[in-house]
């Protein structure tokens, strides 16, 4: 399987993660303490990529932390990568991570090239041009319409990678797959090379969006992983093999493809990942499978 370089590899000296540990939280430490830890870190000026982890263990919004960082915004002016909400399932349900309006914080990071956000409750990234941004990834159990509206109303002329986790209605997805169609536009994203719309119940429909888009010819990677991709979706790719033969990689990891279909897809003249195939359990999966991140 093709491994992307991890922009937020914590072993890199220029990457630094700040969070409240469970212990600290139990001791009564708050977002102000987390802010103090960050601002007071002598190494902060050398940090290029910032990871912000758990700020609260009771599903509180991160607004206080954002406000504090914005008040000291000159300290973050040179940040090139931001992973906001690096919180795992042991710390919080993804769909219960309470975000905030990150727009003022993003405004204070003019050199930001990589933005990754986990959790979309109460999230806003603003609606404005962000010419420095090259990679945007939003992980969610259910992407809400407000976040999609922000992306569509913003301008990312230099974006090379866009990866969005669609999710399910129970965890906050309140739209339809068709509402994502404007993203599949070469005019909107002239430099996009990696497009992923993943973790969707209607993953087969996502394949259709790719195949009928004008952005497909410029892409190198099609990411349709982590969703309910079935043989019907796989067949669409086989039927339109000419349209996808220029791709370098198609990620379909975590899927509902049969072994026969996986073999056929492996025969495409493109590097593909068809690992982690799921079985539909008739007893439990009344909806015919579910995406990877639905908590």
């Amino acid at each position: 399987m093709k491994q992307e370089e991890d922009a937020f590899d914590e072993t890199n000296a220029r990457v630094r993660k700040y969070k409240l540990s469970y212990d600290e939280y139990e001791e009564g430490k708050s977002q102000q303490d987390l802010l103090g830890k960050m601002i007071g870190d002598r190494d902060l000026p050398g940090v290029k990529r910032l990871i912000v982890g758990c700020w609260n263990y009771e599903s509180e919004s991160c607004q206080e932390l954002v406000n504090g960082m914005v008040a000291d915004k000159e300290k973050f002016a040179y940040i090139e990568g931001l992973f906001w909400g690096d919180i795992d399932q042991e710390e919080a349900e993804i769909s219960w991570i309470e975000q905030a309006d990150l727009s003022p914080l993003l405004d204070s990071m003019p050199k930001l090239t990589d933005l990754k956000i986990k959790g979309t409750n109460g999230l806003s990234i603003g609606q404005k041009p962000r010419p420095s941004l090259k990679s945007l990834e939003i992980i969610s159990g259910g992407l809400n319409a407000g976040v999609l509206a922000d992306i569509l109303a913003s301008d990312f002329p230099n974006l090379e990678k866009l990866l969005l986790y669609v999710g399910v209605e129970d965890y906050g997805f309140d739209g339809t797959i068709e509402e994502f169609e404007p993203l599949f536009s070469k005019e909107r994203f002239p430099k996009l090379r990696y497009l992923g719309l993943v973790n969707a119940e209607e993953q087969n429909e996502v394949v259709r969006l790719f195949l009928r888009s004008d952005i497909l010819p410029q892409l190198e990677t099609m990411d349709i992983s982590a969703g309910v991709l079935t043989d019907a979706g796989g067949q669409l790719l086989l039927d339109e093999a000419d349209k996808i033969k220029h791709l370098k990689y198609i990620d379909m990891g975590y899927n509902y493809l049969t072994e026969e279909m996986r073999e056929k897809l492996a025969g495409l003249p493109v590097d593909v990942n068809v690992s982690d195939a799921q079985d539909i359990d008739d007893e439990y999966d009344e909806y015919g499978g579910f995406p990877l991140i639905t908590e």
Partner: protein
């Protein structure tokens, strides 16, 4: 070796006997009870019964029946020279999580929120009061993942989410062999009430350390004051028991500081002693960030590690050699 029917455990223990030059025989509980004096000079290992019931209340009833049977054996055989590998009363104490916690006082165990959950309503009050947004609700009696609920509470929104092996079909709560995720408050309340009826305790949910993107805990087999085996149990969710198709990794994958490993070993040896057991399977969690070990549970019959069976059967072989 005593159980209600032969199993993989009995087969491998018999093989270990062949290795050690000892004749190991399988007998049923009934046979042991009827002829206990005749077995007085033999070494007796009490294995858990195999349950074929899925209904929660039926499972609980079988567990209580088994505990009662162990108590009866303990009363029948009060001669301290009787050679049980683990004495029945010590197994009973380990099967009672409230009693087991009491015996382990002084060791770092997962923090108790309540030793006796009355029901969903009072549990919510307790979580609110304690500013606790995540807890494990565990049946007081028994071992393993059956009946456990990993519960999260979003106080502001009044929402709940739970992961559990339990499922509900009409009025019947039953165990499944998969982890179900529930978000319907009525459904969660129903299951909490069902488990609470049979006796349940609540513990704080300490965030577990992760490895290769999955959370893990440890099953440490300790026997005769030594660590016999350490298995790393990985899971994508909150419940790590291996029979639920979760993944086992060798201990070499752990990158814990030597001091933490020493602490784990020390905790497990002391927990086994305090539980008056000669061998035990001890579940240990490592707290995220702090890398601090906590004892989750002591299982007086938890020496069954499938990987070890195929990899030399060393636990059973050493157990027999040392016991003899």
């Amino acid at each position: 070796m005593v159980s209600n029917e032969p199993s993989q455990r009995t087969a491998y223990f018999i093989k270990a006997g062949e290795y050690a030059g000892v004749n190991v025989r399988f007998i049923t509980y009934r046979e042991l009870e009827q002829r206990l004096p005749a077995y007085r000079n033999m070494l007796i290992k009490l294995e858990p019964p195999l349950y074929h019931q899925a209904g929660w209340k039926a499972c609980h009833a079988l567990c209580m029946e088994y505990i009662e049977w162990l108590r009866r054996i303990a009363r029948l055989e009060s001669d301290p020279t009787a050679r049980f590998l683990n004495r029945p009363e010590a197994i009973v104490h380990a099967l009672d999580k409230a009693e087991s916690k009491r015996r382990l006082a002084g060791l770092r165990t997962t923090p108790l929120l309540s030793p006796a959950v009355e029901g969903f309503h009072s549990l919510v009050g307790l979580l609110s009061e304690q500013h606790c947004s995540a807890a494990f609700i565990k049946p007081r009696f028994g071992s393993g993942a059956a009946g456990i609920l990993a519960l999260r509470y979003h106080k502001k929104k009044g929402r709940f989410a739970a992961c559990t092996t339990l499922a509900q079909n009409g009025a019947l709560a039953y165990n499944t062999r998969r982890i179900n995720r529930l978000t319907d408050t009525r459904q969660i309340a129903g299951l909490v009430n069902t488990v609470a009826e049979t006796g349940a305790l609540a513990e704080r949910w300490i965030p577990k350390d992760s490895l290769c993107g999955e959370t893990y805990d440890l099953r440490v087999v300790c026997q005769f004051d030594r660590i016999a085996c350490l298995a790393v149990r990985c899971s994508k969710g909150a419940i790590t028991n291996l029979h639920l198709n979760n993944k086992a990794l060798p201990p070499a994958c752990l990158r814990l500081p030597a001091g933490v490993m020493d602490e784990i070993k020390d905790l497990c040896i002391r927990a086994t002693r305090l539980s008056a057991l000669q061998y035990a399977g001890i579940d240990v969690l490592i707290e995220k960030d702090a890398k601090r070990p906590y004892i989750i549970e002591v299982n007086g019959q938890g020496d069954h590690i499938r990987r070890d069976l195929y990899d030399g059967n060393t636990i059973y072989k050493n157990q027999l050699m040392q016991a003899l």
